[in-house]
Symmetry: C2
Subunit: 344 residues, 2 copies
Amino acid sequence: MNSNIIFLNEKLNALEFLNSYSSLFIIMDENTEIHCLPILINNFDKFNYNLIKIRAGEEFKNLNSCEFIWGNLLSNFVDRNSCIIALGGGVLCDITGFCASTILRGIDCVYIPTTLMAMADASIGGKCGVNFKNFKNQLGSFKLPISILIYPPFLNTLNQRHINNGSVEMIKHCLLEENITSSILQRIENMKDPHSLSSELKKSILFKNKIVNKDFKETGLRKVLNFGHTIGHAIESLFLSQKKDALHGECIAIGMICESFISSQLYGWKPEILQTIVQILHEYTNGHNFEKSDFVDILMNLKHDKKSKNLTIGFSLLRELGYPVVEIEVTEPLIIKSLEFYSN
Amino acid sequence: MNSNIIFLNEKLNALEFLNSYSSLFIIMDENTEIHCLPILINNFDKFNYNLIKIRAGEEFKNLNSCEFIWGNLLSNFVDRNSCIIALGGGVLCDITGFCASTILRGIDCVYIPTTLMAMADASIGGKCGVNFKNFKNQLGSFKLPISILIYPPFLNTLNQRHINNGSVEMIKHCLLEENITSSILQRIENMKDPHSLSSELKKSILFKNKIVNKDFKETGLRKVLNFGHTIGHAIESLFLSQKKDALHGECIAIGMICESFISSQLYGWKPEILQTIVQILHEYTNGHNFEKSDFVDILMNLKHDKKSKNLTIGFSLLRELGYPVVEIEVTEPLIIKSLEFYSN
């Protein structure tokens, strides 16, 4: 079980494998229709394809969008030998994967991620799903796309804020993989340089893919990827309820600062290591912050996170740089200290 | 990958394995609440369980029922270590399996089928799903329940028509497995005798389970189980559109008559073999019939069946009794002759 990750060159070859399908359905949104579809679509002329457009944004990551896609597929004679192609960011890949896993009991899909966040993280690993009522990502499945096509020129369609957003997950992969501070700093410098970004991206994708291939259903090892995400998701939910314009990566940067603090306290990191990591990550939070009066909501959100089993929360932390540990119970006072550490 | 099929005795032991779950959710409908739940529920007192009641019937096999179940699960703190239990017939097992496969990216489920149809066929093999708009069973997944609990005393809650309904799938398994007419006739006699029904049921379940374990995703061998179902489903859709009160098994009995006729024509069956099979199956059609003017609708329905790939239809037939063959192309004139054979 493994997705074929294909790094496309400018000529967009390597699409020949799509020839074996009876029909293709390309799912896009109003953004990728304008910015990405025109770059690719000539290469699809030789295939029998249909276009399906959904609304962009997290607020449309729900069953209504799925019903729209399912209806469209069925009306256009989808069969078990059809293939669904996601052309978009993480939200669109998530919706597409879920629809592909549930139509006709599951048919093939291909992701063409168009954002750095989707390339480096969301499209890799087969987790897909949608929100349901107030429950985030609670409907879904594990569905590996047959192929993930990485086309770096799409990065030129993104502004700096969205580059930073995706960079946060790449920094996370780097902290999980590298033990030497100078290597980490060098790799983060590379991410900031448009000329070396795509080679860093490749490293990051291959790192994540290696982890998920070893533990597809997240029963153990894969949990290392949740570093920064336990507190990060709780903060993301807080900001969502406050209607704050915060991106996923910005919230995860804050989560990684808090969870680095917790790691440093539990495992006796040298102070300068914590300082270096915090300094790096602060550049990616977009200045978002919260008040002491928000702590209670953040703690409530933590307890509702779907990773909680019997209402205790297992953290994924760093014993030291490059050495992740999982399912660590953290006391409430230490969680609160980490929130104070960030927010002061 | 395999479901643990447990034949429960009167004492309903063998439920101990449910102890390992953090919480249980029992899905039932208004019928099983009255006729089946009281027989079982004392055995659940030691577990932490919730009851969820949905409406009975094919017309409620849709996303609305799923949304009701998903909402209920999430409001009652379902977690990845919860288990969902279906207490009902084929429709209820289908809905429950789909909900279990899509909540929190898939959690465990257990089926307790309460009808003969569900025991002998629907609950075995991990196909689940719901109808979507006018498309039957087009949303779904392959989800094997952890266990299937067969409790034969539930058969006493069924009337003769529903016993016959389930018997049709058992007869199908018998025709796929047995080559000697006298053995087939003996086994069908056994099905009619309440004292030997449950031992025939056990044979039938183990036969189907053996097939699906060899080809879970129906890429080859498993297709033998579609014998009678290509034309049977097309007739079922016709009767549905005519609002005729026909059960699935009754339509499949007709489908098996037509497809036995096609098999006899293609493979030169002895006339007395065809005659014997047709005579057996006629008892299970409940007298349903259709007109020559319905043929065009039946043919249209055939082409919309989800088993069609590139709009050609692969039939699962019998070269002779006990020797199934799959992916056989059948010409339209021969299909029409088989419909005439039945309806005249």
